[in-house]
């Protein structure tokens, strides 16, 4: 036993500051905790599903096949990341409270903000890892498909004596546009941003709510409203459309919920649209803003929360 414990005289009044190392410790523990919840087999199953989808479609043309594959896999990926973000976050805090792990953590010199940030980062790190793995699988399948479909389409053109340089070039252009491009990764990035915003909202709700079910249900409601946000906003901004009470209710909804449709570039990517850097910056910026403010509000609620 050291001298410090021998004497009770030493009273250190220096404030406990934010520590990235502490946040990392909490985030890493959260990530491993979630990984033990059988998340890896689920990821593997998803990869198998994606692979099956990639080669399982009955098709009319290569463009349709590539596009359908991208839409389906990115759509499922989006559902997976949002559901995972909401459910994992809604479970984490109540579980720590039930197990009294929260008491042992917060009775250490750990600021509550560090704890919150650690939990959030842990969930986001796991979502990000999952998305990176699936993105790699998706890219591989798309690249394989792209080459196979192009060869098949050219040989069909050849057999029909339609393989003029123009037709082949057009086919190449179509397949290249629908195949593996950087846009696919930006779409996955947009999916991550959306999931990150929804996860932060779920964290805020789980600090307010006393039941996991309530957190999950309300987080899903906000997710749904968030996708219609642009229309609520435009409705609020149009004058003389409805009664004052309806307008106030719509305004409150628009004020509280994030606009999640801003991250809905997945369909455009599946259509072969190119995502410029400006769009990436704007999406990343607004997601960072949402997360910062929602996390700050979460902190204000949690710092006073009675455990």
């Amino acid at each position: 036993m050291s001298e410090a414990t021998q004497s009770s005289a030493a009273v250190n009044v220096a404030p406990v500051r934010f520590s990235p190392r502490r946040v990392w410790t909490l985030a890493y523990a959260t990530m491993t905790q979630l990984m033990r919840m059988k998340i890896l087999p689920f990821l593997l199953l998803f990869c198998v599903l994606v692979a099956a989808m990639g080669f399982g479609f009955s098709t009319i043309n290569p463009e349709q096949q590539l596009s359908q594959f991208k839409t389906m896999s990115l759509g499922v990926l989006q559902v997976f990341s949002i559901v995972f973000g909401i459910v994992a976050t809604a479970l984490l805090l109540p579980k720590d409270l039930d197990d009294r792990t929260l008491y042992t953590i917060l009775s250490k010199p750990v600021p509550r903000f560090d704890y919150l940030l650690g939990k959030l980062l842990g969930v986001l790190m796991l979502i990000a890892s999952g998305l990176v793995i699936i993105d790699a699988v998706l890219s591989l399948i798309l690249w394989l498909q792209q080459s196979m479909l192009f060869d098949a389409a050219v040989s069909q053109l050849h057999s029909e004596k339609q393989d003029t340089p123009e037709a082949v070039a057009q086919m190449r252009e179509i397949v290249a546009r629908q195949g593996l491009t950087w846009n696919l990764h930006w779409a996955v990035w947009a999916i991550f941003l959306k999931a990150a915003v929804v996860t932060t909202v779920a964290l805020l709700l789980s600090c307010i709510a006393s039941s996991t079910l309530f957190t999950i249900v309300i987080a899903f409601c906000i997710t749904i409203i968030g996708h219609g946000h642009a229309m609520i906003r435009e409705f609020v901004l149009q004058p003389n459309l409805s009664s004052a009470s309806v307008r106030i209710a719509s305004f409150l909804l628009a004020a509280i919920c994030p606009d999640l449709a801003q991250f809905d570039v997945v369909d455009s990517v599946a259509n072969g649209e190119v995502i410029p850097w400006t769009a990436v910056y704007e999406m990343t910026g607004i997601a960072a803003l949402y997360m910062t403010v929602y996390l700050f509000v979460t902190h204000l609620v949690f710092v006073e929360k009675e455990l």
């Binding site: 036993m1 050291s2 410090a4 414990t5 021998q6 004497s7 009770s8 005289a9 030493a10 009273v11 250190n12 009044v13 220096a14 404030p15 406990v16 520590s19 190392r21 502490r22 410790t25 909490l26 523990a29 491993t32 905790q33 990984m35 033990r36 197990d99 009294r100 792990t101 008491y103 042992t104 953590i105 917060l106 009775s107 250490k108 010199p109 750990v110 600021p111 006073e304 009675e306 455990l307």
Partner: protein
């Protein structure tokens, strides 16, 4: 030792606001107590008497409605006050995927400990709590007593000057309970202040220097244990190998004394059931 109390609770009142349709509930009412550095202080009382609530306010997990609590002079509302506290909650669970050593490393890192210092401290704590053999076992497979000891180890990892233990022996078998009580006595000998709650009075009697008795959210008695439980007008004498003649002589002397002096009872003192249990379960196995 410094004069600054390890724990000071001044006129603490805690009221829980009622949720929809329910009235407010006053869990703690104007409680004051002081824990001096180096002593073992027992906060005892029946379930619902406000012990755990008082403890949570001391640890900053709950906010005081009125009054204030301090740890070594620092208000409990400051995170810095937790630098010198280790806490073992009632029936603790830890991350099941970690093993004993990893759990201690996790809590050590939260306290800012790193490298060799953390590693050696974790090993020291495993040895102190008798968990060396379980260092690489997943916490998910730990028995209740082992979890409690791991809880003690994590509470001590950052070398705190104050240990707060909430029902440390609840639900633990007698041998596990014995180990925990021995550890509390060991902590006291090392100069660590201990604030412990329990409703197992005999066990508290064994380890505490001072106790506070709470009931219905109020502090009803407080003081040194030996003073509180001493029956001032009675004297106990235990003899070994006393002959019947000697006992008869003593009896006669007492009668001869007269006045208010009288012999209340005599007979063979009984061992405690706990001691009997420990002797029986620690006997070597017969071939």
């Amino acid at each position: 030792m410094s004069d600054t109390p390890a724990v000071s609770v001044n006129h603490l009142t805690k009221v829980f606001k009622g949720s929809l349709g329910k009235g407010a509930f006053r869990a703690v009412h104007d409680v004051s107590l002081t824990v001096k550095p180096g002593e073992v202080y027992g906060l005892i009382g029946p379930n619902g008497s406000g012990k755990s609530t008082t403890m949570k306010v001391i640890l900053g997990l709950l906010n005081a409605t009125e009054g204030d609590t301090r740890i070594f002079g620092i208000p409990s509302t400051e995170v810095a006050s937790r630098r010198s506290v280790g806490f073992l909650p009632e029936n603790p669970y830890f991350y099941k995927h970690l093993n004993g050593r990893e759990t201690l490393h996790f809590y050590g890192k939260l306290c800012g400990m790193t490298g060799d210092h953390l590693k050696s401290r974790a090993e020291e704590m495993l040895a102190l709590t008798g968990l060396e053999d379980a260092a690489t076992r997943r916490v998910g497979g730990f028995s209740k007593g082992m979890l409690q000891r791991l809880g003690l180890a994590q509470a001590l990892i950052h070398e705190p000057q104050l240990l707060v233990l909430d029902e440390p022996t609840a639900g633990v078998d007698p041998s596990g309970s014995r180990i925990i009580r021995d550890l509390i006595i060991e902590f006291r000998s090392r100069g660590i202040t201990v604030l412990v709650t329990s409703h197992l009075l005999e066990q508290m009697q064994e380890v505490c220097d001072r106790v506070g008795i709470m009931a219905h959210g109020r502090m009803v008695r407080e003081g040194r244990l030996d003073e509180l439980i001493a029956v001032e007008n009675q004297t106990e004498m235990v003899l070994e190998n006393a002959s019947p003649d000697l006992l008869a002589k003593i009896n006669a002397l007492v009668k001869a004394e007269g006045g208010g002096t009288r012999l209340l009872r005599s007979g063979h003192p009984r061992t405690t059931l706990e001691r009997l249990f420990l002797e029986a379960t620690n006997e070597p196995k017969k071939p």
